[in-house]
């Protein structure tokens, strides 16, 4: 927990700040949309582009991986997990689960120090 907050202090003022920005990105890109298989490709690309862009603007010595999954709400079970082999002192991640009436969206950000 200590190492996570040290990372977030370098990346953001707090993990809450990063989560807030991710939610804002999702609300702005797909907030008002209904699941549409012909558009979902475009949406995930837009979400990823904004996330990476926001992260790079921080100008920190980090590499970033951002993953985004969008699934239609039909009652199907969905489970996601991730595991990392990294520098436990400097690296960190953050996951946001978001939903509207017709779809779920899970975005994960992984930050890996270069320093």
């Amino acid at each position: 927990h200590h190492s996570m907050s040290a990372l977030m202090l370098q990346l953001y003022f707090s993990q809450d700040e990063l989560i807030k920005e991710l939610r804002q990105t999702l609300n702005a890109t797909i907030g008002g949309e209904d699941y549409n298989k012909d558009q979902v490709n475009k949406w995930t690309a837009a979400i990823l582009e904004r996330c990476i862009s926001d992260l790079c603007k921080l100008g920190k010595q980090y590499k970033y991986i951002v993953t985004c999954a969008v699934t239609q709400k039909t009652g199907a079970g969905l489970h996601a997990a991730n595991s990392c082999f990294w520098d436990t002192a400097l690296d960190g991640s953050c996951t946001v689960k978001w939903e509207n009436r017709t779809m779920y969206c899970i975005v994960s950000v992984f930050a890996l120090s270069i320093a």
Binding site: T67, A76, H79, S83
Partner: protein, 113 residues
Amino acid sequence: MDEFQAEDETTFVVEEVSKIIKESVEATIGGNTYQHNRVNQWTTNVVEQCLSQLSKLGKPFKYIVTCVIMQKNGAGLQTANACFWDNTTDGSCAVRWENKSMYCIVTVFGLAI
């Protein structure tokens, strides 16, 4: 000849990683039917097995492994990822696996140290 071997020891080899992923998925959920109360354990096992095999390669890389398991009932699923990294040294490999009752998508990201 020595130079070629050294390069192989420090690069992200997609075929090698793909094999590790496929073996991990098959070993964990091959032959199984989607079960809500087991899927938690399955995703954990898949990522842990992948990471274990990846670290055994002994290459100077950090790894991120993600695994999504979804029940097949007609719902649409779209996954995507973006990376801000070193194009010359870093790499990723995604494997999409399925059986009659579920989809499993595993992605490995390797970032050179």
